[in-house]
């Protein structure tokens, strides 16, 4: 147990504490002098166009990814309720994208979005949509990465929704249909309220995950034929660049603390909800 505590201190407590500590210093990796700058890094953040842009992009990204992946997966798990033939097969297929690692998935999507040889432009061309440079174009780049992310998240959310739906007692539905309630009424009056804890839980988990998005953005912005780094810059990408490209460790730490605070607020929201619900 002592060892476990030691591991925790070394691997979690110290780094998390250091994130806060370093954020008050001008901590340059090369320069041995690390002057204390107080809130200087934070003040600089608020005026940093890169930070503000990545914050804006991350918010947009999180909002749409959470909204669409939750809606789609809820619809899917509703149609794949118990007793539905082929449930297992469909579930396994929908779940598959979640399993595969992000780099292979991002490479496959990058090629699908490719402006010259990409299959998406060809398929859309068949129905009369003009070809576009999906990833290269500022207007569609972030959206394209969202599509890929939603595609990966659906399976996970669907499985959790299915469990939640399975736990709703059958009697409720029977009673409601005897009373002559329509399908929509049943959904909004019975299913959704009873499913609310799961909806909140998944919203939180997906939001935190979306705020920490990095891999697919990194893959889709490297090399030629890729997304313009500015149009899809997200928070973790900016932290990564400030820390490991420009070696501004203190500044990157202040940015990490900002990310930490966002995650904290989101988690507190969940905490408050479950406390209110008395769970």
């Amino acid at each position: 147990m002592g060892l476990l505590l030691l591991l925790y201190i070394l691997l979690r407590i110290i780094p998390i504490g250091m994130s806060f500590g370093m954020s008050f210093f001008k901590w340059d990796l090369i320069n041995p002098k690390k002057p204390f700058v107080g809130l200087g890094n934070y003040k600089k953040l608020l005026r940093d166009d890169n930070f503000l842009l990545s914050l804006k992009n991350t918010l947009i990204f999180a909002f749409f990814v959470v909204l669409f992946s939750l809606t789609i997966s809820l619809l899917l798990s509703l149609s794949l309720q118990k007793g539905f033939r082929g449930k297992g097969l469909f579930e396994s297929l929908y779940f598959l994208p979640y399993v595969i690692a992000v780099v292979p998935a991002a490479l496959a999507w990058k090629f699908i979005f490719d402006p010259t040889s990409g299959v998406l432009n060809y398929l859309l061309g068949l129905v009369g949509v003009a070809p576009r440079a999906w990833l290269i174009n500022d207007a569609t780049a972030l959206g394209s990465i969202m599509v890929m992310t939603i595609w990966q998240r659906i399976g996970y959310n669907m499985v959790i929704f299915s469990v939640g739906l399975g736990e709703i007692p059958k009697d409720y539905y029977e009673a409601a249909s005897i009373d002559g309630a329509g399908k929509l009424t049943i959904f909004f009056k019975i299913t959704l309220p009873l499913l609310m804890p799961i909806v909140v839980y998944l919203t939180i988990i997906n939001t935190i995950e979306a705020f920490n998005v990095f891999t697919q953005v990194f893959v889709m912005t490297t090399g030629t034929q890729s997304a313009p780094a500015s149009a899809v810059k997200v928070l973790v990408m900016d932290i990564y660049q400030n820390a490991f490209r420009f070696f501004q460790m203190g500044y990157a730490s202040a940015e990490s603390v900002a990310l930490f605070l966002i995650v904290l607020v989101v988690s507190l929201f969940q905490f408050a909800y479950f406390k209110k619900a008395g769970k």
Partner: protein
């Protein structure tokens, strides 16, 4: 009325099937293109399946000694880190649930407080620590963030709580040592949760990208994910080779998924609902 129901049912199957097709298409496309030669992969209009399937891309990739090395690095890292994190979770979860000691409440509070904190928020200082320990570009350095998981400890603790204390007392009266109790009683009784956690940690380790990216700087230590990303950035127009690499990066985890499909989906379901 009845025909209407049947039509609706068929319609539902068709829609679900189309969605399945859409979900599977990127994976299919990756595999199809990995079997094409360069001339075929860039054709417009594209061939929707390889007309002259070939395994050349794979043999070429694997002949580059690096790729074999990436694969073995990835497997080594993910196996060791999964083992260690599951081990620390089971021990930790068991001790937190069944033993009393000074400072337990405080320690557990620390563990729980870090469950929600993403690695990304403390990766910068983590790098400096690993640098201080002179572990940059080593396997130990890559594995370090993965050896404890607060979530795992919490998850196992929940499951251990269903084991009656009497079992443990009975074993102790029979003269079983603590280690024997742990391996023969505890581990046996929470087997299902251990395998769910194992699958979960395996997937997590395999997908872990940002840390190996930061902490490795020689091709010798690259994981498959990193090696693949570097390869793709150096050969941006060799789509067929990139897709072959992507298939290689996908196969191990998909193989594990297909073998342990029940644990995967069941594990996600178990671990998701607290």
């Amino acid at each position: 009325m009845n025909t209407r129901k049947i039509v609706l049912k068929i319609l539902k199957y068709i829609i679900l099937f189309l969605i399945a097709l859409l979900m599977f298409f990127p994976i299919y496309w990756m595999i199809a293109c990995s079997l094409m030669e360069r001339q075929e992969v860039v054709l417009i209009p594209p061939h929707l399946y390889p007309h002259l399937p070939t395994l050349n891309n794979f043999t070429k990739l694997l002949k580059q000694a690096d790729f074999m090395n990436y694969i073995s690095n990835s497997i080594r890292i993910v196996v060791i880190s999964t083992f260690l994190s599951v081990f620390t979770s089971v021990i930790g979860g068991y001790i937190f649930e069944k033993f009393d000691f000074k400072g337990k409440g405080f320690m557990f509070a620390i563990v729980m407080a870090t469950t929600m904190i993403p690695f990304q928020t403390y990766m910068v200082p983590f790098y400096l620590i690993v640098q201080k320990l002179k572990l940059i570009d080593t396997y130990t350095g890559i594995i370090m963030p993965l050896v404890v998981t607060s979530f795992g400890i919490f998850f196992i603790k929940q499951n251990v709580s269903s084991i009656p204390d009497d079992y443990i007392h009975a074993a102790r009266i029979d003269g079983a040592g603590e280690w024997l109790i742990f391996t023969k009683v505890i581990v046996q009784m929470v087997k299902a949760s251990i395998s769910a956690l194992t699958v979960f940690q395996f997937m997590f380790g395999w997908k872990f990208f940002i840390w190996p990216l930061i902490v490795t700087d020689s091709a010798k230590k690259f994981t498959l994910e990193i090696g693949l990303q570097i390869f793709a950035s150096q050969n941006p127009l060799d789509y067929q080779m990139q897709m072959a690499g992507a298939v290689l990066g996908m196969v191990p985890i998909v193989a594990v998924y297909l073998l342990f499909r029940k644990q995967f989906i069941g594990g996600i379901a178990l671990t998701g609902i607290k």
